[in-house]
């Protein structure tokens, strides 16, 4: 078994002329929690979208669970064991909580192609269970999530990821809109994942949180990885200087 659960080599994404991600060499050990930090537009979400195959990368390779992978799409990545909280949350506002939790992986009473009959009770029961284990409080899971607060919707997305977590969890700014209590709750969910030995990539602008939760910090700047530091060998000011470009581990070609 390889030492790493995820490795990217030379991962690159260009949107037309925009070099959003350039030659990213990233690795994540089994059971390790790594934070990805960087300014707005540094390419963090772009990195996530390439790993999870929401978009097709311009170049580079991704090795997951010991094999080089070319996922067809996010479902493929999920089947392989990657669960993601996207920054855009990826929720259907007009559906209720169980439908969102099981979106794209519904449970069935019996299979009949597209007209397979949903097992709505099982999905609802499992949803309540998942919300309980993650201590997420939603007043009425049968309401469309449109009517829920931003934080509640975020909690739905996080509970979904935690409930299905298997080989790798990626969270893109999971606490961005959350209150103090809810943030603490999400941090507890993340600690739970650590205890279960599930590796994770956490994208966050909250350095306090990053230092609290992860083993290693990777800094993105202008689409490139400019630092890769163990938590013990760095501190907040150090990270900020990498984020702002005062310091860099990157050896520029020119």
């Amino acid at each position: 078994m390889s030492e790493f659960i995820l490795e990217t080599r030379g991962l690159t994404k260009h949107y037309g002329g925009v070099h959003a991600l350039e030659d990213a060499n990233f690795s994540l050990r089994h059971g390790e929690h790594v934070a990805v930090v960087g300014d707005n537009g540094a390419g963090k979400s772009t990195f996530v979208r390439q790993v999870t195959a929401v978009e097709q990368r311009t170049s580079g390779t991704v090795v997951f669970d010991g094999k080089e992978v070319n996922f067809d799409g996010p479902l493929d990545a999920r089947h392989a064991g990657i669960e993601t909280v996207f920054q855009t949350l990826a929720l259907a506002d007009d559906l209720d909580v169980p439908s969102n939790l099981f979106l794209g992986r519904e449970l069935y009473k019996f299979k009949l192609g597209p007209f397979s009959i949903l097992d709505r009770k099982a999905m609802r029961d499992r949803t309540l269970e998942a919300l309980k284990t993650t201590a997420v409080k939603i007043p009425n899971v049968d309401n469309p999530i449109r009517n829920m607060s931003g934080g509640q919707r975020q909690c739905v997305s996080i509970a979904r990821t935690a409930a299905f977590a298997s080989k790798l969890v990626i969270m893109d700014e999971p606490t961005a809109a959350l209150g103090v209590q809810e943030t603490a709750q999400v941090e507890n969910i993340i600690r739970g994942l650590k205890e279960r030995g599930i590796p994770m990539i956490l994208i966050s602008h909250n350095l306090r949180q990053v230092f609290d939760l992860v083993d290693r910090i990777v800094v993105f700047r202008r689409g490139r990885i400019v630092a890769n530091l163990r938590k013990e060998e760095t501190d907040g000011n150090d990270i900020v200087s990498y984020i702002t470009g005062v310091k860099s581990q990157l050896v520029e070609a020119d």
Partner: protein, 370 residues
């Protein structure tokens, strides 16, 4: 815990106090409109729904109710498909023209050889196409609807053409095909079996004679299809994914739903439902004309929107559309009953369609204000 629980914010929440289903409002509106027309008719000594003639032994005005039902049924069957397309976040402007083209093609295979002992004066093909088994025109109709729906779906899913434009193209082309098929000549005189598709007693057959509703097959088919698709939309993956895509297409994609394939399927089903409506329409009228179905697409969209289907996708139900269809047809025949001139009726119809869309916008604004 029976009456209150606490949300994330710690607010009290009363689970017993559910929000009223929007369909209920539509139903109330329907009842209100019927009552208004009843009163308007009574003021002139008539009645909207009830039989006023002494020489006829009936409680209801059968003639008017039949007209309403036929109108609801034919356009309503189309509206079932249109509802799904709109819920998906799309729009289908082609259904009326698809009815036209399908009518012409289908009738060509439904003709009878002899009319009153003489050769069919409207024969399109030679003898080989006469007196074919009824399954042939039915299959031809469904194939036409499927074909048009597939093209709509493929265009919408795999090119970047907006649904409005893609189905507008189909609207123009299918109407062209309808006129080209017989150079604009009507096609008439179907076989007796074909005519019985509308005029028989399907309810009697289905219930082994327990119930009977002769001559109302379009309404029976409409109700059966409405129940079927209401169930499909609520209880199957097809329905769940239709709502999901209409609600947030990007999220549906990220969740691994094959959005493109699903879109093709929904448009294809809408096309086939237009074909079913065509079978009912032509077997009722015993003739097909190239101009059949003009404006049906707008009627169907109006029915859906009146019934609470949101034009921005993700919200609505077949039940709502059925009620919307009833409201729409009641208004139209209500205006006939108070002898409003046909020109005014057209204008009013236009106003209803625009009004329904304004209502939809208003509902959305209200929702986002909380």
């Amino acid at each position: 815990m029976a009456t209150s629980a606490h949300g994330t914010g710690g607010q009290k929440y009363d689970p017993a106090k559910k929000t009223r289903p929007p369909e209920l409002n539509v139903l109330l509106a329907l009842i209100l409109i019927v009552v208004v027309f009843e009163i308007l008719n009574r003021m002139n000594g008539g009645s909207f729904l009830f039989n006023m003639r002494d020489n006829v032994d009936a409680i209801f005005n059968k003639q008017r109710i039949d007209i309403i039902l036929l109108q609801v049924a034919i356009t309503g069957i189309i509206a079932i498909g249109v509802t799904q397309v709109i819920t998906l976040g799309g729009i289908d402007l082609s259904s009326g023209s698809v009815v036209g083209a399908t009518a012409m093609i289908t009738m060509s295979f439904a003709q009878t050889a002899l009319v009153n002992g003489n050769p069919n004066p409207k024969a399109i093909f030679g003898d080989w196409a006469m007196d074919l088994a009824v399954i042939v025109p039915i299959a031809a109709a469904l194939a036409c609807g499927l074909f048009a729906g597939l093209i709509n779906g493929l265009l919408v899913a795999y090119t970047r053409i907006p649904p409005f434009i893609a189905t507008l193209g189909m609207m123009v082309s299918a109407r062209g095909a309808a006129r080209w098929w017989s150079n604009g000549q009507p096609i008439s005189f179907p076989t007796e079996t074909y005519a019985s598709l509308s005029n028989g007693d399907l309810l009697g057959t289905l219930t082994f004679g327990l119930l009977s509703w002769p001559g109302q097959n379009p309404a029976v088919v409409f109700i059966l299809l409405a129940i079927l698709f209401q169930c499909i939309m609520v209880y199957t993956r097809y329905g769940k994914h239709t709502y999901a895509i209409g609600s947030n297409e990007a999220a549906a994609r990220m969740s691994g739903i094959d959005v493109n394939k699903h879109k093709v399927l929904v448009y294809a089903i809408a096309g086939m439902l237009a074909a079913v409506a065509t079978i009912m329409l032509t077997s009722k009228n015993l003739t097909a004309q190239a101009g059949m179905g003009i404006m049906y697409e707008l009627d169907a969209i109006a029915m859906a929107v009146i019934g609470g289907v949101s034009l921005s996708g993700g919200r609505g139900s077949i039940t709502g559309t059925v009620l919307g269809a009833l409201i729409f047809s009641v208004i139209i025949s209500g205006f006939t009953s108070i002898r409003l001139d046909a020109y005014y009726q057209e204008m009013v119809k236009g106003a209803i369609i625009v009004g329904a869309v304004v209502l939809d916008q208003w509902r959305q604004n209200k929702r986002s204000r909380g």
